[in-house]
Symmetry: C2
Subunit: 320 residues, 2 copies
């Protein structure tokens, strides 16, 4: 059978695990509750058991696994293998997760990386980034995460905080972002902030079929915005346009920085489909310079929720 | 004596040449008129003669030179060694300058690179970037050029157009840039546009001691703005603040992309000194996120006009 690689996507609710052959073909997949509120030891035990189950499900043994990739949300000191104080893990305080997990797995190599970088790497090796060497990746969820592939490798900065592309400022003195900056792309164009801007507009009295949603459910989701856009609501169109424009500016700004040949959007919001993608492309074409014709492709991710486990396994393979 | 490296900075008016030992110590320096309006052959001959003169001046021979670095303004296909249609060289149409220059020098290795990248590399190896591995570099002149050092290497994108950092959009729908985009950092904060904004404000009737300059000289330079700022003019302060704020946003946006430990500003405008640098730092500290304390150093270049010849020689050494 040869070598097997395990990829783990450590989320606040679930631990997702995939077991892959050396060609990164998925052999088996499992998931288990994270129990994020418990002590690090419990969570690490949950990850280890889920990994063992996954490998067993594939008819294999952990002895066949030279390295495990572990994707986790930040902030963390990835290069040191330490979660200092991640938002989703209330008990974690300077937990040397990489070492603890390696010890639990009998000294196996653990590759520990930021979840957005890992999903980026997953799309690069097996999804929407296949066939290119230079790619920029955005995940549109609660926030906007980013990843950059430069000459076939994940770009890393001086510390563990490169690729914070959602915090590129596009409207100085604009909307306050959770990070403390004003005017970040994330403050406009994440799924959460797209929905929030719609709710704010309705509350401010703008006419919209979304008012009924807000009145009945007490909130508006990003999906509501796109559903009402498809039904012809004008406010939903305006909100979508603002999101698409912010994302187009992000594309332009990263194009002028690392010059990718493909820009890939992922995350819950891409469920909106072409109605969103086409608006991003429209704004990109409207706003981009005329000095030369840009041929960068803008597209949506193709791996869905599996990008994390595939990317983690691919990084494990690369570092084993 | 060992190996000698020649660095050439091909400008629209002058060809600057430096001859360096293998430790990149300057041995001799010359310059010659470019004659940019003439045919490529003439310009290449000018570069070759200036190189030979420089090496002779150092008491050496071209036989001691394994490689020559050549920095030129864009746009060009640097990786292919071709100047397609550079703004400063009216006769150049798809000129294979790297090959022609190598032929003229008896087949010597020529390293051909964008002038902003070369100056960035020069500051990295011998100037304000010494001692760091990750750096971002901006030149503030007619436009804003950029360069990025990532893990000790010049970052290159998919083509020849990475690091166009002056064309990061910071005010969507803002001032029209020469590139065709609206709201580029360059459209606000280059030396030329800083001066232009001052002239526009005076023409629009804003009160300023700069009015006298405009009336008498018919124009305002960037130096005028900083001179009048030092003398207490309020408009000059406002214009400087806008420039500093745009540059601070550029610092934040590149920090969140490639995460440098040092950001270096170069070009004519840094002659303004601390009165500009401190304002950039103030705005950076005011605008940067609170998620973590950023320790990136923001400083001015130290090599002045020699950055190009040093960087070109350093790239020649690297590639020889």
């Amino acid at each position: 059978m040869g070598e097997i690689f395990v990829g783990i996507d450590l989320g606040g609710t679930f631990i997702k695990v995939g077991c892959f052959d050396s060609q990164l073909k998925l052999l088996a997949k499992t998931s288990a509750p994270t129990e994020a509120e418990k002590q690090a030891k419990v969570i690490i035990e949950n990850m280890a058991r889920a990994s063992e189950q996954c490998v067993t499900k594939a008819g294999l043994s952990m002895d066949d696994v030279p390295a495990v990739g572990l994707a986790s949300p930040g902030p963390a000191k990835y290069s040191e293998g330490i979660i200092e104080a991640a938002t989703n893990f209330p008990t974690f305080r300077n937990v040397p997760i990489r070492q603890m997990f390696s010890d639990r797995l009998g000294g196996k190599t653990i590759v520990f990386e930021n979840d957005a970088n890992v999903a980026c790497f997953g799309e690069f090796v097996a999804g929407a980034g296949k066939g290119v060497e230079d790619m920029v990746f955005f995940t549109l969820g609660t926030g906007i995460g980013g990843g950059i592939i430069n000459k076939g490798k994940l770009l890393a900065g001086a510390g563990d905080n490169a690729n914070e592309l959602g915090h590129i400022i596009i409207y100085p003195d604009g909307r306050l972002c959770n990070c403390g900056q004003k005017g970040c792309a994330e403050a406009y164009a994440s799924a959460t902030n797209t929905a929030k801007r719609a709710a704010e507009a309705v509350e401010a009295g703008e006419k919209s079929s979304l008012k009924k949603v807000l009145d009945e459910k007490g909130k508006i989701t990003c999906k509501d915005v796109y559903d009402h856009l498809k039904a012809g609501d004008k406010l939903a169109k305006k909100i979508t346009d603002e999101t698409a424009k912010a994302l187009a500016v992000l594309c332009i700004n990263t194009l002028h920085t690392t010059e990718p040949t493909r820009i890939v959007f992922a995350g819950g919001m891409i469920a909106a489909g072409d109605i969103l993608l086409n608006r991003i492309k429209d704004y990109f074409n409207e706003q981009i310079w005329h000095l030369k014709k840009e041929t960068v492709e803008i597209c949506f991710a193709t791996l869905g929720e599996d990008a994390g486990i595939i990317g983690a396994a691919a990084l494990a393979k690369l570092n084993s």
